[in-house]
Amino acid sequence: MIPGSFSYHRPASVADAVKLLSDLGDDARPLAGGHSLVPMMKLRLATPAHLVDLHGIAALKGIRRDGNNLVIGAMTTQHELLASDDIAQSVPILHEAVLLIADPQVRYRGTIGGNVANGDPGNDMPALMMTLGATYRLEGAGGARDVAAADFYQGAYFTALEPGEILTSVSVPVPAVGHGYAYEKLKRKVGDYATAAAAVVLTLSGGKVATCSIGLTNVHETPLLATDAAKAVIGTSLDAATLKKAAAAAEAIMAPAADARGPVEYRKHVGGIMVTRALQRAAAKAK
């Protein structure tokens, strides 16, 4: 549990960070909250020769409005997300889900950028960002580009980030007024990754589901959008048969690994239950 030696860099601007990363190449890793990278280094499963610490870059902090979007700087901590009235009021599912990330000590340090950029299917934010239709701003030596969260995740720890690129902000479209939402997470204990979790954002019209988006956490090597499950509930009042159909559609795209949280069959089964419960709770909240 002792890391190997490495050089430490603390750039003051995104441009400097990008330059360092492109100059140092594959031997360099950007450091945000460190919750994933540092343990890997202590186990010597990651042995970067250079760490580029992003904590010195003021431009990567903060939450601001940009039209109908909330733009969140990548180095904004989970604690800061929880403290934001703007998030609590306009994207309450984000507030709800962040509260389910580990414990206060972790949230003081953990960042939204690190959480979404690492490509860890166990993290809670990626599936939620897909559900919300968020986009990520990626900046590299060749300039900046925006990638939809739904297009970002390619495999476990594999993302659309190119070598030398940094994820600098997350842009979240504010859901419609009166929308219903829920993030249902089954976990063994505080600090554990989800056995399975489901995010639901929906709107109702005349007691029937008008729009719906469903995201799934930790039931596949990437976060998932359960589009068939979401389609299955449109135009329904979420009766028992519909819920069953939606859960089955969601389970059909799950491919979790068997681990200490349970065998594949169990994780898929509770994944379906999380979808059902999230749909019911979201509908109850919708106006």
């Binding site: 549990m1 002792i2 890391p3 190997g4 030696s5 010597r44 414990d103 089954l186 063994r188 204990k189 505080v190 600090g191 554990d192 056995t195 200490a260 949280r261 349970g262 065998p263 169990y266 089964h269 509770v270 239950i273």
Partner: protein, 806 residues
């Protein structure tokens, strides 16, 4: 007498003696981060050692190449079994009469076994060095399942034992067999089963788990070449035994070994035995002439130094139709891993597992335990319990529930029907113990009344009906547990460790101003000895507890004792404290008689001094007696006021308790909620009710963890897959249920203050309460016995196997 004269109650309260909820004096430093733990020990020129460990569970070590490691800046030495052989320390004795490799000698026998010890100027360099040691292995077939260990074609694990048909505890039946231990009357028991009206039989497993104290095992060894003295700072629950063991195996004179156990961050049995890290650090210090620190990390702690349980108990009860037990038959398959490294008293290869008759009046019983080797980490230690007592309590408490289910009787009623009656004490059990005292019926009835047991059963019946009607997906379980512990090892007639009788000791020295210091052979790891030991002295001799400093853990200053584990401190050292205090009190009485000019028989002890009988105004306080002890003792008497006592207990003590767990389980997810947990403990005389409550809370939390998910798990090829707190269930305050505590008081008749010990009771009684709750919840769906741990997915699987989930 006037208004300012303190009343008797005020004088008594001022002592903060036994029965007082005295605040823990050690917490002043612990809560301010001012504790002094082994990793806080930093000596000039200190080096750091770390282990190269085996990735294989079973392999031949073909070659160890340290040439690249020695080129790493800061790396000074790489110690291997070959190095250790030059000082005859490649193997070390275990407390269970086996031997254990210190470093891999030709073979590795479990994953993460210690292979080489890299010594460097700092921990980073040591770890860099580890990664440069190249070890060539030839993998061998691993043996993981203990039930296959004695198959004819099972791989030979211990090549050092080939051809040895006898082990430390008698004949060996197979090359992977360690011992067979039998107790009880087989013939009589078989006969009882033959004529039994009802019998039950179940294989009840207690899975492998781990004590996992927050502070891992660690030491600093410092050898002074000039003086030839070795100083060891270590996380030792039994520092004096460690000194003797080091003296015997390292052939150093015992007076030249100084063992110091500073503050310890939890032990729970993990820190009783000796580990390769201690030997390697000591050898490294002798070789380099510099202090060497070894600190285990969490992965190493969970996967290499000690585990607990891994007992597979085939249990049978014979009974009459109306529920009177007539016989108990238990066979245990005990998985000890690669080496038998139990920390048991020498004569007890399965500890005190023969307490398995529990709280019940079994006319006859028979027990056989087979210990076997597998390719897993060695052990197993007593994790917050007296030796193998939690296994025994789990076995009998689960079996009694299974019997109740078969007889269609309420499990509490079945227990009440079979309890040993108050008038039967001292009670001689069928498996050889003499229970000192108990009043089981009172404790059980108090539990049932306080919890509203009958109403809870009624609610359960309604919920079951609702479940069957499809109105709810939640099932409710009531887990009853009534345990009898056996603690306070122990009487020299049946307990020793490596030939040293299991007494304990106390030395009290009072100073002229009415203050003093007391030293014991025990060692607190969080139990609060500095607080409670002073309380015993305060009550016994009338000096305020605040004026008594308690010191343990330094073998140069403390009297020899066998240490703290198995809830032995209060039963054994607590008695030694009272006996030493009484010696002081006797001398104090002589001094008071001399000063008050009366015969000592005319004096009576009165809270904080001696009073002349019938003359209440003629009184001498202990404070004044202390002063007199240093300037005006009776002619012919030695000055001073100090005493030592070494206490060899006449018997064990037998704490008991009645627990109830109320649990609700969602069958669709397996998620459980502990709605209520009630724990009534009878530990005899209560020294500090607040500390007892804290001990019960801690023990219940560990019991909850073990029963509901805490497991050391190996995959089918011998990889240990629970090497961190991400995988090994360590509940936080959020998961931990609320605890309700209660008590009755049945003093031990043979203990000087009647105390029995409590630290481990909640773990012993708690595990069966949780497991019985889960089993009780599922019983109406047809379950007889569901193995622990009862984590979410296994609960769901139970529901699915019973047809309750599609």
């Amino acid at each position: 007498m006037n208004d300012l004269t303190p009343t008797r109650e005020q004088r008594s309260a001022a002592l903060e003696g036994m029965g007082c909820k005295r605040k823990r004096v050690e917490d002043i430093r612990f809560t301010q981060g001012k504790g002094n733990y082994v990793d806080d020990v930093k000596l000039p020129g200190m080096l750091h050692g770390d282990f190269v460990r085996s990735p294989h569970p079973h392999a031949r070590v073909k070659k160890i190449d340290d040439s690249e490691a020695l080129k790493v800046p800061g790396v000074l030495a790489v110690i291997t079994a070959e190095t250790l052989k030059t000082v005859n320390l490649a193997w070390m004795p275990t407390l269970a009469g086996d031997v254990q490799m210190v470093l891999a000698d030709g073979k590795v026998l479990f994953q993460n076994q210690e292979v080489a010890f890299v010594v460097a100027t700092d921990r980073y360099a040591a770890d860099d060095g580890i990664n440069k040691v190249i070890v060539e292995y030839e993998p061998l077939p691993p043996l993981v399942d203990p039930f296959k260990s004695m198959d004819a074609d099972a791989p030979v694990l211990r090549e050092d034992l080939v051809g040895k048909t006898t082990g430390a505890h008698g004949p060996r039946k197979h090359h992977n067999h360690i011992f067979e231990w039998t107790v009880g009357d087989k013939e009589l028991t078989d006969a009882a089963f033959k004529k039994a009206e009802v019998t039950i039989k179940e294989m009840i497993s207690y899975h492998r788990t781990h004590p996992s104290p927050l502070e891992t095992c660690q030491c600093v060894c410092s050898f002074d070449k000039i003086k030839g003295e070795l100083t060891i700072y270590g996380t030792f629950q039994a520092p004096h035994v460690i000194r003797t063991v080091v003296s015997l195996i390292a052939k150093l004179p015992e007076q030249k070994i100084h063992v110091i156990a500073p503050d310890i961050g939890g032990g729970f049995g993990n820190k009783v035995g000796a580990y390769p890290g201690y030997i390697c650090a000591a050898v490294a210090s002798i070789v380099t002439g510099k202090p060497v620190k070894w600190v285990e990390d969490r992965i190493e702690n969970l996967t290499a130094t000690s585990f607990a349980r891994d007992y597979h108990m085939t249990t049978e009860i014979a009974a009459t139709k109306d529920g009177k037990v007539t016989g108990l038959r238990v066979h245990v398959l005990a998985d000890h891993g690669a080496f038998d490294a139990c920390a048991d008293p020498s004569k007890w290869p399965a500890g005190f597992f023969n307490i398995v008759t529990g709280s019940y009046d079994f006319p006859t019983a028979h027990l056989a335990v087979d210990g076997v080797y597998t390719n897993k980490a060695p052990g197993g230690v007593a994790y917050r319990c007296s030796f193998r007592v939690t296994e025994a309590a789990y076995c009998i408490e689960r079996a009694m529930d299974i019997l109740a289910q078969k007889l269609n009787m309420d499990p509490a009623e079945l227990r009440l029907k079979n309890f040993i009656k108050p008038e039967q004490f001292p009670y001689h059990s069928a498996l050889g113990w003499e229970y000192d005292s108990g009043d089981y019926h009172t404790a059980m009835r108090k539990m049932m009344e306080t919890t509203g047991y009958a109403a809870l059963r009624k609610e359960q019946a309604e919920k079951r009906a609702a479940f069957k009607r499809g109105e709810t997906r939640e099932i409710m379980g009531l887990g009853v547990s009534f345990f009898t512990e056996i603690v306070g090892a122990g009487p020299s007639k049946n307990c020793d460790i490596l030939g040293i009788a299991m007494f304990d000791s106390c030395e009290i020295r009072l100073h002229p101003t009415g203050a003093g210091i007391a030293r014991m052979g025990t060692k607190s790891q969080g139990q609060g000895h500095e607080t409670t030991w002073a309380q015993i002295i305060a009550t016994e001799i009338g000096i305020p507890a605040d004026n008594i400093m308690v010191e343990e853990g330094n073998t140069d200053t403390a009297p020899y004792g066998l240490g703290t584990y198995g809830s032995r401190s209060t039963p054994v050292a607590g008695a030694a404290i009272a006996m030493a205090a009484r010696k002081i009190k006797a001398k104090a009485q002589m001094i008071a008689a001399y000063k008050l000019e009366v015969h000592e028989d005319d004096l009576e002890f009165d809270i904080d001094g001696f009073r002349v009988k019938g003359l209440p105004e003629k009184f001498m306080s202990m404070k004044d007696i202390c002063w007199a002890a240093y300037n005006s003792v009776p002619p012919g008497m030695e000055p001073g006021l100090e005493a030592v006592s070494y206490y060899d207990p006449p018997n064990m003590t037998y704490p008991f308790g009645a627990y109830l767990c109320v649990m609700d389980i969602d069958v669709d997810t397996g998620v459980y909620k502990v709605r209520r947990f009630y724990a009534l403990d009878d530990c005899g005389t209560r020294i500090n009710p607040m500390i007892i409550e804290g001990q019960v809370h801690g023990g219940l939390t560990e019991a909850f963890a073990i029963a509901m998910g805490q497991e050391i798990r190996y995959d089918e090829v011998g990889n240990v897959v629970t090497g961190s707190f991400m995988d090994f269930f360590m509940p936080t305050a959020v998961e931990t249920p609320h605890w309700e505590t209660d008590f009755t008081v049945t003093p031990s008749p043979h203990h000087p203050i009647g105390a029995k010990g409590v630290g481990e009771s909640p773990n012993v009684g708690g595990v069966p309460a949780f497991s019985n709750a889960v089993n009780d919840a599922f019983s109406f769906l047809g379950a007889t016995h569901i193995q622990m741990p009862h984590d979410f997915w296994r609960n769901w699987k139970a529901a699915k196997d019973l047809g309750a989930v599609a």
